[in-house]
């Protein structure tokens, strides 16, 4: 049986509000990055970083994965890392990846 009495779950709204504001601002900033830096080599790096930060905000403040069972912490950490890493690898090593993935 999992004991839930010694966790520090938050009931404060301020951290949730800050996280939501961060998500909104990063969404708008991400759109700008997509437009302003079109064709720039490091654009995928910035987009990947924004995706990871937004996903982390949801994990950390909404799901509270850092207070959850270690399985959940690890699953969420791996999931939110996968797409940014794959984005970067596809952007910089796309042709090699395509060769490996050809049947």
């Amino acid at each position: 049986m999992i004991d839930s009495t010694n966790t520090a779950q938050s009931s404060a709204l301020a951290p949730l509000t800050y996280a939501w504001l961060g998500l909104v601002l990063l969404t708008l900033f991400g759109l700008g990055v997509g437009q302003w830096f079109r064709g720039v080599g490091w654009q995928p790096l910035l987009v990947a970083a924004i995706v990871w930060v937004k996903s982390w905000l949801v994990c950390r403040y909404f799901i509270e994965s850092h207070l959850a069972h270690p399985f959940i912490t690890k699953v969420m950490r791996a999931f939110i890392l996968f797409a940014p890493i794959a984005l970067i690898l596809t952007a910089f090593f796309g042709s090699q990846f395509a060769r490996w993935a050809t049947l």
Binding site: I2, D3, S4, N6, T7, Q9, S10, S11, A12, L13, L16, T17, A19, W20, L23, V24, T27, L28, G30, L31, V33, G34, Q35, R38, Q43, P44, V47, I50, V51, K54, S55, V58, C59, Y61, F62, I63, E64, L67, A68, H69, P70, F71, I72, T73, V75, F79, I80, F82, A83, A86, L87, T90, G94, S95, F97, A98, A101, T102
Partner: protein
């Protein structure tokens, strides 16, 4: 041997937000989308030009509206959980209703986006980019629909006093599912609407 080494460490007692059942479901959902993401990356690696050109033809407004609806409904539902933790049942219900209302904007925005796409000649046969786009976004829409039905069910239970400060695992389970679905959308948004 120092005394502190003789005292066994307290076991890790971190919890499952909601219940174990919902986390089985969420893990399956994440694995399903991991497979879909691999489809996206393999396609993008093979057809980089189609993916760069395709994003230009989609409605960024629709993608942005859906993103704002997802993060805002997620925020409201997180507030609902925070309120019930302090025993503020009525406030928790208000937050949950707000989350439901905002989440209902998703199907509306999606229908408008599909109509916009069709009016601009974009369908599932418009090329590899759009095939993958429909594949991922429709799948996400199906998962979001389950989430909206879940919100309705949890709201009905909440209205009849089903949750208290001591026991609100059902509300927390719904919140966990919705937040996971939110994260998946944030990733999909960058795939199709941001990277051009």
């Amino acid at each position: 041997m120092p005394a502190h080494e003789l005292i066994p460490e307290a076991p890790v007692t971190r919890r499952f937000p909601g219940n174990k059942g919902i986390w089985v479901g969420i893990t399956c959902e994440l694995i399903e989308f991991l497979v879909l993401f691999i489809v996206y990356f393999v396609s993008r690696a093979h057809f980089p030009d189609a993916f760069e050109a395709g994003a230009e033809r989609l409605s960024r407004v629709s993608g942005t509206v859906i993103t704002l609806l997802m993060v805002t409904s997620s925020f409201f539902i997180a507030c609902s959980v925070a309120a019930i933790r302090t025993g503020q049942r009525r406030r928790s219900i208000y937050w949950l209703v707000a989350g439901l209302v905002v989440s209902l904007g998703y199907p509306v925005a999606k229908i408008m986006e599909i109509n916009w796409n069709l009016a601009h000649g974009i369908n599932g046969e418009s090329g590899i980019f759009f095939t993958v786009y429909y594949y991922l976004t429709f799948n996400h829409f199906v998962h979001a629909t389950w989430g909206i039905l879940g919100i309705l069910w949890v709201l009905a239970r909440h209205l009849v006093g089903g949750y208290t400060a001591e026991d609100h695992s059902g509300l927390e389970a719904l919140a966990s599912y919705w937040h996971a679905t939110d994260i998946i959308w944030l990733i999909i948004f960058s795939f199709f609407y941001v990277l051009a």
